[in-house]
């Protein structure tokens, strides 16, 4: 690998003049690559230009132009802004585009998602199955010409609500009086539901014993399914695990049990209406989800953020991060089998943080606090006093207490120490971001690597640990809590007086046409939003790059060769939230 070129010189057009062109649409950026040469260009980007981290991969359906586009956002783990490149294909069924799993393994789940929801077939993908919907589901829902059973209109607000709005259940408008739509000529007698053979075949194929070329005796192999109803899978995650004795030989997560069609609904909402929906992505950190979405749309609108609002945003985001990490610690101990006491202690601190959110934003979990250009309302005085009490007084003491309580506990150390999670190479290859990447020794934190908002004004360290085992993954959460407290202390001292929004409050914002990708460091990793606007009140394409979802790509790498007893703890390391995984 040659030394990475500085960002300004990333000129793919000069490097590949025959098949790369700059994206010339107004307010679009990046490069358009011919799909036949996609793999070649991607390999060059990774090896010659040093873009080792594939952040986001998604598709967009341009119905009017009869085109499907796949959009790739790549970044360097050494920091700096990223590069976006696209490839276009004619809109057929299915659309065929070469797979990039061979270049960035982290493309795996994201390509499967694009196949599932948009019907883009990635040629060369080793395991292209549906990921969020079930096999046998009719159609690809995110295509612009696909309509669901409760379809009313293309965009909100619906005309039936006002001025002649008489309450009607959506069911009454549907022929089946239910959220069901069957294809033309569907016959229940002849219908054979799809089996799960494909899932089990893929388990068998990727089984590590087979890869080693060893012979495998029949009966030795056992497949168990964990979830979707399982006390320790952090929600409705299902994992099919293949075991050899106690050792995991292969593993496939089965997702989609909480697939709530966030993106389809988002494309129907107005820009403002999406804000409360983002709360429900990672429902522990609604403030940070709001943050990510707000900065993305602000990028599109090219509006500044009020100075005081910037500080309020940072304060809320860091408080959110602290309570999230407390819950992580509590829940991890729960998963290890120490039912309750530590998680009860963790929840106490969380409740106090949520009290602040309730006083400031109005709700404990679903804050809906950010607006384009600022925030909804100023922090009330008593809430400000509470924040200061917590930040300067209680939370540092309680973090110490938590460490005293757990860190040296011999049982905990025995369970966590030297159980390998991920090393730096595996993590980067699989697009893992967040604390898991930093615990593997890569100091990659978007607050530092590509600062957004006002994070460049604060003095803080990127928490990093080097062993990449479970104990480091656990300890790094404490480090991050302390760094967040540092940021909070500075923010609370520096916060200026002034207006809390640079814009006038308006319920329908004008967003000029164009595309934007905004990303923030959520407690789970890189939370990205890809928004395409065509100048109308609703986004044309709205995609969420959820850290929990992409991190799960590495689950198989992480768990292969480990004991099944450690699986629950290993899964807990990613701190997944199903609302974000399945969206």
């Amino acid at each position: 690998m040659t030394a990475p070129a500085p960002v300004s010189t990333v000129d793919l057009v000069a490097r590949f003049p025959e098949f790369v062109s700059a994206d010339s649409r107004p307010a679009y950026s990046g490069f358009v690559v011919k799909k036949e040469n996609l793999v070649e260009v991607a390999t060059a980007l990774r090896d010659e230009f040093g873009f080792d981290l594939l952040s986001s991969l998604t598709g967009a359906d341009y119905l009017a132009e009869n085109k499907m586009e796949v959009v790739y956002h790549v970044h360097r783990t050494t920091g700096g802004p990223g590069v976006v490149f696209k490839t276009q294909a004619e809109r057929t069924d299915p659309v065929e585009v070469p797979s990039l799993v061979g270049v960035w393994a982290g493309a795996d789940f994201q390509e499967r998602e694009a196949w599932d929801l948009l019907g883009i077939k990635f040629v060369g993908h080793p395991d292209l199955r549906r990921i969020l919907m079930w096999e046998g589901f009719e159609g690809h829902p995110l295509r612009k010409d696909w309509q669901e059973a409760f379809y009313e209109e293309d965009t909100k607000p619906f005309k039936s609500r006002w001025p002649e709005g008489s309450h009607v259940y959506a069911e009454f408008k549907n022929p089946f009086r239910d959220n069901v739509k069957l294809p033309e000529g569907f016959s229940l007698e002849k219908y054979q539901p799809e089996t799960e053979d494909q899932l089990y075949f893929s388990l068998e194929r990727d089984s590590s014993k087979k890869i080693d070329g060893e012979t495998q005796e029949l009966g030795e192999r056992m497949v168990i399914n964990m979830g979707p109803h399982h006390p320790s899978t952090h929600g409705v995650l299902r994992v099919a695990v293949e075991l050899n004795g106690e050792t995991i030989t292969s593993l496939k997560p089965v997702l989609g049990y909480l697939h709530r069609n966030h993106e389809k609904i988002g494309e129907r909402n107005t820009f403002l209406q999406i804000m409360p929906y983002t709360d429900r992505l990672d429902y522990f950190n609604s403030m940070i989800n709001n943050f990510g979405y707000a900065i993305t749309v602000e990028k599109l609108m090219k509006i500044p953020v009020a100075e005081r609002a910037e500080y309020i945003r940072v304060i809320m985001a860091e408080l959110s991060r602290i309570q999230n990490h407390f819950i992580f610690i509590g829940m991890l101990i729960n998963d290890l089998g120490a039912m309750y006491t530590p998680s009860l202690y963790a929840f106490e601190e969380r409740e106090l943080v949520l009290d602040i959110f309730e006083a400031v934003a109005g709700a404990r979990m679903m804050c809906n606090y950010f607006r384009f250009g600022g925030v909804v309302r100023d922090i009330p005085d008593d809430a400000m006093r509470k924040i200061k009490d917590l930040v300067f007084d209680r939370l540092p003491a309680k973090t110490d207490e938590m460490e005293r309580f757990l860190n040296e506990n011999e049982v905990l150390v025995a369970r966590l120490k030297n159980v390998h999670v991920l090393n730096a190479d595996e993590a980067i290859r699989n697009s893992v971001t967040g604390p898991c990447l930093r615990a593997a020794g890569v100091p990659y934190d978007i607050r530092r690597a590509d600062p957004y908002s006002i994070y460049d004004r604060f003095d803080f360290d990127v928490a990093v640990r080097y062993n990449g085992d479970m104990y480091d993954n656990y300890l790094i959460r404490f480090d991050e809590i302390r760094q967040s407290l540092r940021i909070l202390e500075q923010a609370l001292k520096q916060i200026p007086e002034g207006p809390i929004n640079s814009q006038k409050p308006q319920y329908q914002v004008r967003v000029p046409a164009g595309e934007a990708y905004g990303r923030v460091e959520s407690p789970k990793g890189e939370l990205g939003f890809y928004v395409v606007s065509n100048g109308k009140p609703n986004p044309y394409r709205y995609h969420v790059r959820a850290p929990s979802f992409v991190n799960l790509t590495a689950l198989e790498t992480m768990c292969k060769g480990e004991k099944i007893a450690d699986f629950v703890a290993l899964l807990a390391m990613f701190d997944i939230v199903m609302g974000e995984v399945d969206r």
């Binding site: 002649e164 909402n269 106090l352 009290d355 679903m366 009330p380 040296e408």
Partner: protein
């Protein structure tokens, strides 16, 4: 020594356990009531909370901050003879801004001219669709729809509220959100004063011509 970490941890638990009783004793010595009082609940939600943390719900309740929002309700001003002047003008902004589209409004129209009258004929909110985001209250230009503090809404059936169930008096709003209420009333008065001043002043266009 093996087991030292566990003992250290147990020390933390023991301290938390005894803290409850130490606080009990100190409150008792000061002659204050720790449980079932507002003061006690406040203390248990403050930074000084230690030991017991439970707020025993039906008997005592957490103190809801003013901005707390649950489900929306509609406001009416009480007239001098007990009549209800509904603030809503059925302009439809709440229905337009509502993300899950759970608000249905039917506008009243004059039976003779057919022109719309600023008052809702029907107003439905499907409480089981509402996502408590508060956008309707935030963007209502007439302060006619507000978010409630009442959360004890559990029922044995689906909850679709009509106009009658949604209406609550302004005095109730003033009670749950005093700061907001006072601020809005002041703004309204200032606006009305400005309007009156404008009406009283001679038209500038007429003066110049």
């Amino acid at each position: 020594m093996y087991g030292k970490g566990i003992i250290k941890g147990l020390g933390v638990t023991l301290k938390r356990f005894t803290d409850t009783y130490l606080d009990d004793i100190s409150w008792w010595m000061q002659g204050k009531k720790r449980y079932y009082t507002k003061e006690g609940v406040e203390h248990r939600s403050s930074k000084d909370a230690r030991g017991i943390f439970t707020v025993q719900y039906p008997e005592e309740q957490l103190i809801a901050p003013e901005e707390f929002r649950y489900e929306p309700f509609l406001l009416y001003d009480e007239g001098p003879e007990g009549e209800r002047n509904i603030r809503c003008t059925s302009c439809g902004i709440c229905a337009k801004v509502c993300p899950p589209q759970c608000i249905w409004i039917m506008r009243t129209s004059d039976p003779e001219t057919g022109k719309p009258i600023p008052e809702p004929k029907e107003f439905y909110i499907d409480m089981d669709l509402c996502m408590n985001c508060g956008l309707c209250a935030e963007y209502c230009p007439f302060d006619a729809i507000k978010m409630d503090h009442d959360f004890e809404l559990a029922s044995y059936h689906r909850n679709v509220y009509d106009l009658e169930m949604l209406l609550k008096p302004t005095s109730y709003y003033a009670e749950i959100r005093p700061t907001n209420y006072n601020r809005e009333e002041e703004e309204r008065k200032a606006k009305e004063a400005a309007k009156a001043a404008k009406a009283a002043a001679p038209r500038p266009s007429a003066a110049t011509n």
